[in-house]
Each structure stands twice: as structure tokens, then as C-alpha cells.
Subunit: 308 residues, 2 copies
């Protein structure tokens, strides 16, 4: 059975009937609904007790995702999680096809976190033939990830806009690791008057400082050993700033020099920018968003800290 | 007193207190709320009995607007009308500043139609400093009005998206006169999963066939006499099609020849297109959207009919 066929089969089983799902997940009193269509999601939404907390994900969960889910669970009577690897946010030469997927494991993890509803639509449900409606957040998307990945934030803003319209959450949780994404979503919600509260939660890290990421699955053993260089560079920036260095370019330069010592690392960008406008700073004023994108072997990783 | 100051004053008076409004509009039992802020609109929305019918307008009402309001009133327990001359949908050399406005008259007309809530925000409320979030419906906006007025539909889609998010109607009414606009809104609602029903109502015409439009106010007496040429050209298209003509270019050509006989008329476009894709037809297949944009003197007018 191919991975896709297996996934579909799992989805079918887990959405087949309440009794079966309860059996599958070993839960007699309460079942997690797994929904594949927008129409059913709308129906189920009407039954949910508010406030509804929502976490939008591309699946392949790590502790970063789970920290968002746990916060949503702690704060809301109802929790919806979406799992959708969004083709619109991947460039033509990026990793949409190989992006890691493991729906059965993801569903089991969400069940443990006592999530109420999982929305896991197929691509055609979200992007039917002829689809051509886009949400463009301009300005802040021209820098950093937006500059390196043209069209990425159009894809992100559009799918999150759609998910918000379908799920109608009161509050939605995003990770600080994708700092620019959180900024874009906040701006979209505020400027398009979506009336949803956006909460950003801290980046979850491995013991050696590497930020958790689904793409860490790509790292070969030698890459994995090299990958904490991103966090070390961020820590260096904090340390330099703590010692009184206010020249942003000097800090960037020392970060670059540190990273270049790692033979497997290739810098995409190193940035010290205003956390709202993302404009690069000359003099470090707080708060400052220190962020970077570095390729480790063939895997592009990002990370950031806020200084001040 | 400037026109703007007068408008503001009227707004202030009419939103000052329930008793005053009841007095102003000669209505003891029931008052129309006039709201200027998004925050208050959200609060009031929560109190409205659903379904909520909504009509988005730029004011300066004519019978076309009122036909939408009456349908909304007939079909829904609650009716909201917005009055907002949306700068984002005007090009830099278009008529935003001179677009006709008459808020006191508009409010009196809406009161007569027993509208529940008027949302009339100032420009800064809808577009605060730094605003840069846009809804782009691509494909269908590249033709006809979109081709003649670059950026127009970005402005329309964005403001309607915002208004829908603020007012959260169940059903919203648009006029067939702006056929491409109705198409764009339908596509936006469907593809961004906004969950709102869009109803399009027939164009209202003067006895001589001229479609009602706020921009008709610009027409000088000699322009006004020439303006029914748009409707006569559309009627000619219907007649030719009725007689069996299936060659779209022959029909367009005869329409153009008829319009060119009117010295005050200058053609922008004459189109016979698929009503969904707006692709120009070679052979007329039904339904076909016959539409045109013609300048009469200095005033650009549009009109259309659906054939078949």
C-alpha cells in the first residue's frame, strides 16, 4: 500500500463512525471527529461550544505543534486542529512532494491531547479547479522568508484565511519559530477585520538548542550534529547585545563568521530587524527580531530570537 | 459649512441618541442605527436577529440601490446597509474626490425602507495607516472593467471582504449592472469559503433604458440625451441574436457602428463573453454576457444584458 493510500484508508476508518473511532482511539466516552470536507466541518462547527481554539498545521507533529495544541486545550472548551500540507505555500522547486507526512501518528497524538475536531481536507477540497482567489499581505512579506521564498506568504495567508472562514475560531495559536508568519497572520486578521485573537507561543527546542521543526526529519546524522549552529548564532547575538554591542551589522557579521565555521552550513540570510516592520536595523533598538535561514546540507532551516 | 463637515454633523446628529434619531426620522417605535466604527458595528451585530441581509453601497442612492434594500428587507428579519465611498477601488486619475455624496438624503431613504443598521465608517476606520492587506481575485479580473481600471477589483474585493467580516451577513445583494463585480464577489466568497449567499438582482432602468447609476449625476443635459445609446446597443445585440446571428464579432461590430453614430459617445469596450470566465466568444453560445463601457462626454458608463 502506498503512503497516500494508507493515509486515505486511515482517514476513512477514523471518520467512519463514532463507535469505530471510539474503539480505534480506545476512548469510550468522548470521540475525536476527523473531518475531510468543508461542508461537514461547517456543520460540526455549529455544535461546538465556544470559545473555539484552533491550531493550523501541516502535520508531522513535533513538540512545537503539541505545545500549541496543549495551550488551545487548556484555554478553550473546544479545540480544532487542521492538518493540511498546503501546496500554495511551496515554491515550484521546493519540497511539497517530499514534505514529511504521518497522518496515523498525528491523529493518535491529537487524540491523546483530547482534541475535539481534526480537519484534514484533501488538496482538491481546498483548491478546486479554477481556484484563483488570493490574500496578499504586502510590505512585511517582501523581506526575509518572503524574499527567499517568493509567493510563500501568499500561500500561507490564503490558506489560513480559508481555514479561519471555515472553522471560525475565536482564538488561534501560532509558533514563534515562524515569526514572520505570525506577523503576517496578525496583520491579515487585523486589517481584514477577521475578529480572531492570535496567540504566539515560544519556540520549542531540542536539548542542544535546535528548534523543533518537521523539516528536521530531513537531516542526515551529520546534518543533525551541525544544525544547532543556528541556535548558537542566535545565542551569540543575544550575548553580544547583552555586553552592550548596539551596532547591528557587527552582530550580524559575528553571527555569519560563526556559522561559516560549520562546513555543512550555507547562509541564506542573517537579520536583525524591527519585529513589526521587519526593516533591518543599523543600531539595535529593542525589541529586535534576530532571525536567520541556513541550509544544513540540503535542508533549509530557520530560527529566531527576540532581543530586549 | 463644507460638504464633509455637513456630512459629519449629520452623522453625529443621527447617531447621537435613540430618542433624537427617532425624532429626526419621525419614527417613534423603531430606530435605525447609524454606526461609524467597526467595534460598535460588531457589538450591534451580536444583537441582530438572523438571517441578516446586507447591501454594500457607496451611497448616493438611486432606484437600483433601493431595489436591493427592498429585497433584503423583504427576505430577512435584519437588514444592514453600508455606505462607504471606497478609495481603494478608484484609480489615481479616477473620480474618488468628486464621486457624488449625499448622506442626509441617503439616510432618510434607508429609514423609509425600514433598514435596521447603517454602517458608514470614515476612510481611516477602514484603511488605517500602514494598511497593506489585499484580496486579489485573479483571472476574471483581467478582462473588461479590470482591464480598463487596473486595481479596481482588488479594491472592490478587499473592501467587500472586510465588510463581510465586520457585518457577518447571511446573505448579500448585488446589482446585475455591475456584472463583473458580482462575479468577482461570488468567486471570492466561494473560493475563500466565506459562507455567505450572494444574490444578484436585475438592473433598474430609466424609462428610456438608461441604467440607474450614481454617476448619471455627472451627465450634462446633452449627455443625458445621448446616454441611452448604451442600452440601445445592448438591445440591438439581443435583437440580432434573436434573429439568428451567432457570429459574436458581427454583433459587436454592429453595436460599435450604432454607438459611433452618437457624437458624444466614445467606446471603451464592447464585449460578448462567457458569463463565468469572461472570455470573449467567437460564436455566441448562451448564456452570453453582452457588456460595454462607453464615455458620454466626460462620464464613463457601463451596462450589460445576458442573452439566452
Amino acid at each position: 500500500m502506498t503512503e497516500t493510500a494508507e493515509m486515505k484508508n486511515t482517514l476513512r476508518e477514523s471518520s467512519s463512525s463514532t463507535a469505530e473511532r471510539a474503539f480505534l482511539f480506545g476512548r469510550g466516552d468522548r470521540t475525536m471527529k476527523v473531518i475531510e470536507t468543508i461542508a461537514e466541518m461547517r456543520q460540526v462547527r455549529k455544535q461546538l461550544e465556544g470559545p473555539v481554539g484552533f491550531v493550523a498545521t501541516m502535520g508531522y507533529f513535533h513538540e512545537g505543534h503539541l505545545s500549541l495544541v496543549r495551550k488551545a486545550r487548556a484555554d478553550n472548551p473546544s479545540v480544532v486542529v487542521s492538518i493540511f500540507v498546503n501546496p500554495a505555500q511551496f515554491g515550484p522547486h521546493e519540497d511539497f512532494n517530499t514534505y514529511p507526512r504521518d497522518l496515523p501518528r498525528d491523529l493518535a497524538l491529537l487524540e491523546k491531547e483530547r482534541v475535539d475536531v481534526v480537519f484534514a481536507p484533501p488538496v482538491e477540497e481546498m483548491y478546486p479547479p479554477g481556484f484563483n482567489s488570493w490574500v496578499d499581505i504586502e510590505g512585511v512579506t517582501e523581506r526575509l522568508e518572503g524574499a527567499s521564498r517568493p509567493g510563500h506568504f501568499r500561500g500561507v495567508a490564503t490558506v489560513v484565511n480559508k481555514l479561519f472562514n471555515i472553522i471560525q475560531p475565536d482564538i488561534s495559536y501560532f509558533g514563534q519559530k515562524d515569526a514572520q508568519q505570525a506577523l503576517v497572520i496578525r496583520k491579515m486578521v487585523r486589517e481584514l477585520n477577521m475578529g480572531i485573537e492570535i496567540v504566539t507561543l515560544p519556540t520549542v527546542r531540542e536539548p542542544d538548542g535546535l528548534a523543533t521543526s518537521s523539516r528536521n526529519a530531513y537531516l542526515k546524522p551529520e546534518d543533525r550534529k551541525a544544525a544547532p549552529i543556528l541556535h548558537r548564532a542566535l545565542s551569540l547575538a543575544q550575548e553580544l547585545w547583552g555586553k552592550g554591542e548596539k551596532d547591528a551589522e557587527k552582530i550580524r557579521q559575528q553571527m555569519r563568521e560563526l556559522i561559516l565555521k560549520e562546513p555543512l552550513a550555507k547562509i541564506d540570510y542573517v537579520s536583525i530587524a524591527d519585529p513589526e516592520t521587519l526593516e533591518e536595523m543599523e543600531e539595535v533598538k529593542t525589541p529586535a527580531l534576530v532571525s536567520l535561514a541556513v541550509k544544513i546540507g540540503k535542508t533549509r532551516l530557520i530560527d529566531n530570537v527576540v532581543v530586549g
